[in-house]
Structure formats: structure tokens, C-alpha cells
Symmetry: C2
Amino acid sequence: MAKTNLLAADGGFEQPCPIRDVLDRIGDQWSLLVLDALEGGTKRFNELMRTLGDISKQMLSLTLKRLEEDGFVRRTVYPEVPPRVEYDLTPLGHSFLVPMKGLVAWADEHHRHVCEARTHYRTGAR
Amino acid sequence: MAKTNLLAADGGFEQPCPIRDVLDRIGDQWSLLVLDALEGGTKRFNELMRTLGDISKQMLSLTLKRLEEDGFVRRTVYPEVPPRVEYDLTPLGHSFLVPMKGLVAWADEHHRHVCEARTHYRTGAR
DNA sequence: CGGGATCCATCGTGATACTG
DNA sequence: CAGTATCACGATGGATCCCG
């Protein structure tokens, strides 16, 4: 029973289940994209804005803060003027990229099937 | 540059990027849990309710509909009374479990680190 | 430049009641 | 049993202005 039920409401009613906890964070619209953008190395705030393309300052700021809080991203402030802030992945963040890549690869590979399924669903499934 | 930027706003401004498209679906609060619950085999509606434990009927219904539409789940209705409806994974759904397991395993393994990072963040990081 | 604060629109989710 | 309909609310995300 403990086989695959890591996703149950709790892992046995202790903590709120590791997977849910993690997914709640990286399950938002931007976290994965930011992590991906940082894979290439250190980036500054506006650099990330340009890389992501269509994220607002607020969401980038918020996402980075959450990722920093969870230990995925490191934030480095240089006491200069004008201010300079750099973001890069921690070892934890890097390690997360591994399973993430698996997910991305799957999505890239099977996106066609999903689209076909949607079409088929509408045309005549029911 | 096309190396890892599969997550950019689009894969080159064509479709809304496969990864975002997939993530928007399975990134909600329940999809992964439902898929996991179905790994064991065919299940009925109320069976899933019990397995998930704390999902509402509405959300289970909605989640299943989306998963069915995207081709992850197959819905089989038996014209009986009282009604009987069974859900199980399609091949696509099964194939998705592979990368998902990777993510689950990571979450299970590194959850401690994330918790520690959060604590450390609050106590004195800034 | 790198955000924080505020306001607002929308979405996701839950609770409840009702239906076939 | 297996949902659907309705209501309500908090979270999510965008836009804008402001500040050091």
C-alpha cells in the first residue's frame, strides 16, 4: 500500500504530503519557466523578464521570492548604484531540473497526442 | 539557444508551447493525484473519492473530464441502474506516469531540504 | 535598475443542493 | 450511484504607480 500512494492526502497523516507540498509551489504558471531560464546560469531581474517574455514584474518578483524561500534559487544583491541583483540556481535547484527535464521531454514528445485527443473528444467522442 | 528553451512563451511563436500547455492541465491541484490513484487500475467515481480522500465531487468530476478530454483517462459508462461509470488510464496516461514518477521521487527525496530552506529563510537569511 | 504597494479582473476550488 | 447547477470566496495574475 505504501507502494505508490505517495500522493495521498498525506503520507500517513503526518505532513501535508511532500508531493503536494512541492507541487503547490512549482505548479504555478511561472516557477518551472523561471527555473528553466536560470539553467543557463546567473541572470539579472530584467534579463529574466526578457527571457520569459511575457511575465509581469510582479509575478517574476513573487515567483523568485518563493523559489528563493524554498531553496531553489539564490539571490545576490550587490550594494551598488544603480542596484544590481543576480539570481542563480542552488544545488537543490539544479537537482530539480533532472526530473523536470523528464517532464518537459514527455510534454514535448506527446503534445501532439494530447492535441489529437482533444480534437477527437470534441468531434465525436460522445 | 534552442537547447533548453522549450519552456519559452512559445516554441517559436507557433503553438502556446507544449510544456505550458501540458503543465496548465496537470499543474492543478488534483490531476496528478487522480492519475496516481488510477495507476492501480480501473476505478469508479466514488472509489476515487475515497482514495483521494479530500476532493470534492465537483473537482473530481471536473478533473476527470479534463483528463478524459486530454486523452489521459478513459471513461466507460455502463447503461445500468444504478449507473456505473469506470475510469482507467489510457496508454498515454500510463506513459505520463513515467516522468511523473521521477518528479514524485524527487519531491519525496528532497522535501526535507525544501523545508529546511524555508526555515532557514525565515530565521536569518535576510 | 530592481523591485514594493495598490487596485482590479479572472480563475480555481469548496460547499451545498438538486437530478437522472 | 454519478454526477450537474448554483453560489461564494480566496488565490492568481495583470497593470500601474511609486520608491530607494
